[in-house]
């Protein structure tokens, strides 16, 4: 039952708004010192604390971190999808030369769908259970683009075909519960790319899916992103997911970017102990069975009362006194575009000395950190390279 008349709702955007007169060079998205804090009874939760990066058209940024590191909040902050009350936002977000850091939901609405879109984590709950797939895809098309219903239907069919859904005509008339999880995520992707956004957020798009489907969905996202020259922010807790698919990777911890680098640089010259620990926690195919995984001991810090120095210091095998007092800034590394936040970086004489000292004092649990950093083999052994080869 529909109470609203099935008329075409007026266009959300004027043509010149959709196709800006700005030159196409320059970053699509420029994020500077973004902070997002939530007011709670316990105090201010600093979910995102001073994050800066820039993203160019057609590029993919992988945002990696464990639960509670602020990666989802970061993507929702950029998109402006945060709750209305109890949120403190600071910093600047420039999208296509337009400051949107403090835009109202009404202003953001002109960007949602047509300029930026999001694929959500759980395809089980992000489709409306009582609406047919057809309507869920055509609705944004009719709303944003000035097209007829029959053309919208054609587009919906083309979209479903392009995201690799078999029998797309039949699926259009089905309800979400008749589709498998992987297919639902494909539908979600079809909806997200329907209006041709320039920036696509994929917020852990494969977490809720069967492992066998994960690679397919990631490949699909990558293929669509390349075909449409979208910029993509791929949020995940799995380094393996972004390894072959992101141009650049930002590792987040406790609301901060702790290391940021082009993908190959990150895996070959990782500097931050947290990145190293994340890579080590990927199970390796070459390990004998029943080998214990290298886990990161402890839990992420409380974001209300974060430790004063480096936020990773309580869990870091390289930790020194300085780390507990003074928070390291984002230091530029030798490689272009590579920056990290560490006083005793992995793979440097300082880092090795710090590790030696800790080991001599018996502070590092035996067997958690090897002497050399087998970064490159770790990745290939973890099957990361294999996953990336299927993308094109």
């Amino acid at each position: 039952m529909t109470l609203l008349p099935r008329r075409r709702v007026r266009r959300a955007l004027d043509t010149d708004q959709r196709f800006p007169t700005e030159p196409l060079d320059g970053a699509l998205l420029e994020v500077t010192d973004v902070r997002t804090m939530f007011q709670t009874d316990r105090g201010l939760v600093r979910a995102v604390d001073g994050v800066s990066f820039s993203l160019e058209r057609g590029r993919t940024l992988g945002v990696v971190g464990e639960s509670g590191s602020g990666k989802t909040v970061l993507s929702r902050s950029i998109m402006g999808l945060l709750p209305k009350s109890g949120v403190v936002r600071e910093g600047s977000i420039v999208f296509e030369g337009r400051e949107i850091g403090h835009a109202s939901p009404e202003e953001m609405r002109s960007l949602w769908g047509t300029q930026m879109a999001m694929v959500f984590q759980d395809p089980m709950t992000s489709l409306n259970p009582v609406m047919r797939i057809r309507r869920q895809i055509t609705e944004p098309l009719l709303y944003h683009l000035d097209i007829s219903r029959s053309y919208a239907n054609e587009l919906a069919l083309a979209l479903l075909t392009s995201v690799g859904i078999p029998e797309p005509e039949r699926r259009l008339n089905e309800y979400p519960h008749q589709l498998s999880g992987g297919m639902r995520q494909r539908v979600m992707i079809a909806i997200a790319i329907a209006c041709g956004p320039k920036l696509l957020f994929a917020d852990e798009p494969t977490t809720a899916l069967d492992v066998t489907v994960q690679a397919q969905i990631l490949d699909l996202l990558q293929a669509q992103q390349r075909e449409r020259f979208m910029a993509m922010i791929l949020v995940t807790h799995d380094l393996g997911v972004v390894a072959g698919r992101a141009d650049e990777i930002a590792v987040m911890y406790a609301g901060r970017i702790v290391e940021k680098a082009p993908t190959t640089t990150l895996f070959h010259q990782m500097r931050h102990p947290y990145t190293e620990a994340l890579v080590r926690s990927i199970p390796r195919l070459t390990n004998r069975s029943h080998t214990r995984l290298d886990v990161i001991h402890g839990r992420p810090p409380d974001l209300v009362n974060a430790p004063p120095g480096c936020k990773f210091s309580p869990r870091c095998p390289y930790v020194q006194d300085r780390c507990r007092i003074e928070e390291p800034p984002l230091i530029d590394a030798d490689a272009p575009g590579h920056a990290y936040r560490c006083w005793f970086p992995v793979g440097t004489p300082e880092g090795r000395a710090a590790l030696e000292r800790n080991r001599a004092e018996g502070r590092v649990p035996v067997g958690t950190i090897a002497d050399t950093v087998p970064a490159a083999d770790t990745i290939s052994a973890a099957g990361v390279d294999t996953a990336s080869s299927g993308g094109a």
Binding site: T2, G113, T125, E169, Y175, P176, H177, Q178
Partner: protein, 314 residues
């Protein structure tokens, strides 16, 4: 295997039926798709009790609508003054009342007024309560709090007294009684709509719709409302039953429609003084009300069970 249509006309008809369906799809599967793949046939089966309830409602509503075409005595002006309080006979199956009027005719005609009040007030309450509940549940802040507390105030007020007061002020007409009972039913339906909206609006598909640039009104009416409706529908059917009973209650308090208008409540009232020597006058409309309420309650349950979207199948 379905039989092949023999004549060209039949074939044409079969062809037409298939229009709009994918070619491979058997015709009936279109229905099954509506109800879900599992147990589609089991769900489509209603069971004998549901059919009896439907039949009863068809009988009651049909006779009320067609009352003037049925071979019934005039419910007000026809009277057999020689057989006052006569029990059921072949000519008058429900007997005659204290003024010699035909009770069957009065029950059938009374159904017109009672059903209009029942369906009308719930229809008003459904729309009003639905919209209020959606707004209150969707905008959880100041607006939602305000609407919520106003609804609570209405709920805290004794409902019969509220209806009584409204009818007394507005006058004892069918429309006013309908309005009075609509005022009573609105907060109840609004509460259900609000509670249901509160849970549905937290779902990720609402956020997904927002991320696609949908406006609040669109999200409320196109995304959330279809999910809220089933809960409201089943409650509304129960509500109709409750309102029909409430009309009887108001009649006994002398606050329903005027005595010269026939309603089920008024038929009961007309027999209440002779209940000891002529119980059929009170019993006939009471039993009709009882069966109607039973049928509506049962149908409400059936509808709820049918449209119950189980979490697992999401």
């Amino acid at each position: 295997m379905p039989e092949l249509p023999s004549s060209p006309a039949e074939r044409l008809a079969a062809e037409e039926d298939r229009e709009g369906l994918p070619p491979s799809e058997p015709l009936l599967q279109g229905l099954a798709v509506e109800l879900g793949p599992q147990g589609a046939s089991a769900r489509r089966r209603l069971g004998i009790a549901a059919w009896i309830a439907i039949a009863w409602m068809v009988l009651v509503i049909g006779s009320a609508v067609l009352a003037s075409f049925l071979p019934l005595k005039d419910p007000i002006n026809w009277a057999d003054s020689s057989h006052l309080n006569q029990g059921p006979t072949l000519a008058h199956p429900f007997g005659l009342d204290g003024s010699g009027r035909d009770v069957l005719s009065r029950v059938v005609y009374g159904g017109r007024v009672s059903l209009v009040i029942g369906f009308g007030s719930i229809a008003i309450g459904f729309v009003l309560g639905g919209v209020l509940g959606l707004i209150a549940g969707y905008f959880k802040g100041r607006i939602g709090g305000f609407i919520g507390s106003v609804l609570d105030i209405f709920l805290a007020f004794p409902q019969l007294i509220l209806a009584l007061a409204v009818v007394t002020f507005l006058g004892r007409t069918t429309v006013n009684v309908t309005v009075a009972l609509a005022i009573v039913s609105t907060p109840i339906l609004a509460r259900i709509a609000r509670a249901s909206t509160l849970t549905w609006s937290e779902r990720e598909f609402v956020l997904a719709a927002r991320a696609q640039g949908a406006r609040h009104r669109r999200i409320m009416f196109r995304e959330i409302l279809p999910n809220v409706l089933p809960a409201m529908f089943s409650l509304a059917l129960l509500g109709i039953a409750v309102v029909i009973v409430a009309e009887g209650g108001l009649a006994i308090l002398g606050a329903s429609v005027k005595p010269q208008t026939v309603s089920w409540g008024n038929v009961i009232v007309s027999g209440k003084n002779s209940i000891s020597n002529a119980p059929h006058i009170v019993l006939a409309p009471s039993i009709v009300i009882f069966l109607t309420v039973l049928a509506l309650n049962y149908l409400g349950d059936v509808i709820r069970a049918r449209f119950d979207v189980r979490e697992s199948s999401l």
